[in-house]
């Protein structure tokens, strides 16, 4: 065989043995380390997305506000978001849309709650006046809904001092009395109470102020979603299939989760894949109330709908 033919044959053989993943469309999914994201992890680990024709990959993004620029630059195709990330971005002209829901708040299953120092014996919002409250992010969903709860229960949020405290730092800030209370999220929430560092007696602010409200969802750039409606549909379908499977096979799901979330918890958020423009009405209202956004954002434009 002449050398030229040998080269062609070698290249053909190489192409023939290449993994089928190269023929699949890339779908890079980014999210902060949170149990809310377990359905997406299962969608990837179970092979659902691969079967749908997508070479999915997962990237843990510690700081959630890095997700929008990653979506716009193409590093990610789908990323976790919250209303307080999406609304200011859209107001400033950033092309982002919600493509699927992640979690909602349900009374009785609050994964976000206010916990207070045991020595302060706080049993209601009026006792928070003059105290320092740590929140995981200033102007985050937890922060805004907490402020709304204060106003609804007759407490002026300006009478409370808000301090941004990352979740991993909440225990030591409470123990050292640097803060008097924190708005914590599972599994930190459970850890603080179980460790005797905090009490959970002040009332469930989130379900009081926003029962049924969306807390986290999946987003993409509008341009990408418009060009890849099948990818969005496949992602939604895989999420929908993952949720009942997780509930039936929680141990196996936790094992999959452990590959990407370096903690395990048996707390089960209320997952919901469906997302509607109306889900954002509440957040537009409180975002305007607390000056996160300045205008009345058209929520009809926030959710991607395939044409």
């Amino acid at each position: 065989m002449k050398p030229g033919y040998t080269t062609v044959a070698a290249i053909a053989a190489l192409i023939g043995t290449m993994p089928s993943a190269l023929a699949q469309e890339p779908l890079n999914i980014g999210f902060p380390p949170s149990i809310d994201m377990l359905p997406a992890i299962v969608a990837h680990e179970s092979g659902c997305l691969a079967e749908a024709g997508y070479a999915s990959s997962l990237t843990v993004i510690p700081i959630a506000t890095n997700v929008p620029p990653a979506l716009l630059s193409g590093s990610l195709q789908i990323g976790m978001s919250t209303p307080t990330i999406l609304l200011p971005a859209v107001e400033n002209g950033v092309d982002l849309v919600a493509v699927a829901g992640a979690t909602i708040m349900q009374a009785g299953n609050e994964g976000i709650s206010l916990v207070t120092r045991p020595d302060l014996k706080i049993t209601g919002p009026e006792q928070l006046k003059g105290l320092k409250v740590g929140v995981p992010g200033i102007m985050s969903v937890a922060d805004l809904v907490f402020r709304k709860w204060l106003t609804q229960t007759g407490v002026d949020p300006n009478e409370v001092t808000f301090i941004e405290v990352p979740l991993p730092r909440m225990a030591e800030m409470m123990k050292s009395s640097t803060v008097d209370a924190v708005v914590a999220i599972q599994p930190v929430l459970g850890g603080l109470v179980a460790g005797g560092i905090a009490e959970r007696n002040a009332g469930e602010f989130f379900s009081y102020a926003a029962d049924g409200a969306i807390m986290a969802f999946w987003s993409a750039s509008g341009a990408w979603a418009k060009d890849h409606p099948e990818a969005v549909a496949a992602f939604r379908t895989c999420l929908e299939e993952s949720i009942p499977w997780i509930i039936e096979n929680r141990d196996a799901a936790n094992e999959m989760g452990a590959k990407h979330l370096p903690f395990t918890t048996n707390f089960t958020p209320d997952w919901r894949t469906e997302i509607l423009p109306g889900d954002f009405d509440y957040y537009v209202s409180i975002s305007r109330e607390f000056d996160l956004v300045r205008s009345d954002i058209d929520t009809g434009e926030l959710v991607f709908a395939a044409e």
Binding site: P33, T59, I61, I63, S73, P166, P168
Partner: protein, 247 residues
């Protein structure tokens, strides 16, 4: 007494006290993991390959950025050193650009380049080019004018002039600038990883913090200190290149 033994007294005492304090519960381990736990976390990370991968990613970005920054700094320094009018005209702009912390460009770089090596090494290059440029510029201005006149008389090409006169003349000062830049490279690379880039030691550090692995956090910090010391030792070796040999 052996000087090494003397210098080991303080750190050994501190570490022993820390370990003992943790063991008896006097030191809160959720905030200050005990030294043995830190060592164990580091050993596990080394054994499972995650520490090696993260180290490679950080050093890759730092090295690439340093190389690019040096190239840009030397080129710009020589050009501006030889073109007096251009240097005067561009001085205010360059001074302004030089004053901007490289990390301030991180959100912009993320938007333009996305996650990955390009974004991180670009920011490192921006941070490291300035000390090299300043050193090269100063050295180029000090080149004996008669040497350049001789080069013109001999009708040397630009490349010949660069190779035989300019580069040998500025080399020593470039090395000094490079020593400063090496210090920036690792710090900037790790900071970018902590802030935005999901790769490298900085990313591992922030993930360890977010997932309450204080032992691993400390192990990574200690490892970064070791890498910093190695980088410092390597950069001090550069002094040999900058000192002219006596015959």
């Amino acid at each position: 007494m052996n000087s090494h033994l003397i210098s080991a007294i303080v750190p050994v005492s501190l570490l022993s006290g820390w370990e003992l304090g943790s063991a008896v519960g006097a030191i809160d381990e959720t905030t200050f993991s005990r030294p043995s736990a830190i060592l164990r976390a580091g050993a596990i990370a080394a054994a499972d390959g995650s520490l090696v991968t993260a180290t490679y990613q950080t050093l890759e970005a730092a090295s690439l950025g340093l190389f690019a920054g040096t190239l840009i700094g030397v080129t710009l320094g020589i050009f501006l050193g030889l073109q007096r009018l251009v240097e005067l005209a561009s001085r205010p702009t360059l001074e302004m650009l030089r004053a901007i912390p490289a990390i301030a460009f991180t959100p912009l770089a993320l938007l333009i380049f996305g996650f990955g090596l390009t974004m991180e090494s670009t920011i490192v290059a921006y941070a490291t080019c300035w000390p090299v440029m300043i050193a090269t510029l100063a050295a180029t201005r000090r080149i004996e004018p008669r040497l350049l006149e001789v080069a013109a008389t001999l009708e040397m090409t630009a490349i010949e002039r660069l190779w035989t006169i300019i580069i040998p003349a500025v080399f020593g000062r470039v090395v000094v600038g490079l020593r400063i830049a090496i210090g920036f490279a690792l710090v900037v690379a790790v900071t970018v990883e902590i802030l935005v880039n999901p790769r490298g030691l900085g990313y591992a550090l922030i993930l360890a913090q977010q997932t309450f692995r204080t032992d691993l956090m400390y192990a990574l910090i200690v490892w970064l200190a070791v890498l910093g010391m190695i980088a410092g030792a390597l950069s001090s070796q550069l002094d040999r290149l900058s000192v002219p040999r006596s015959s």
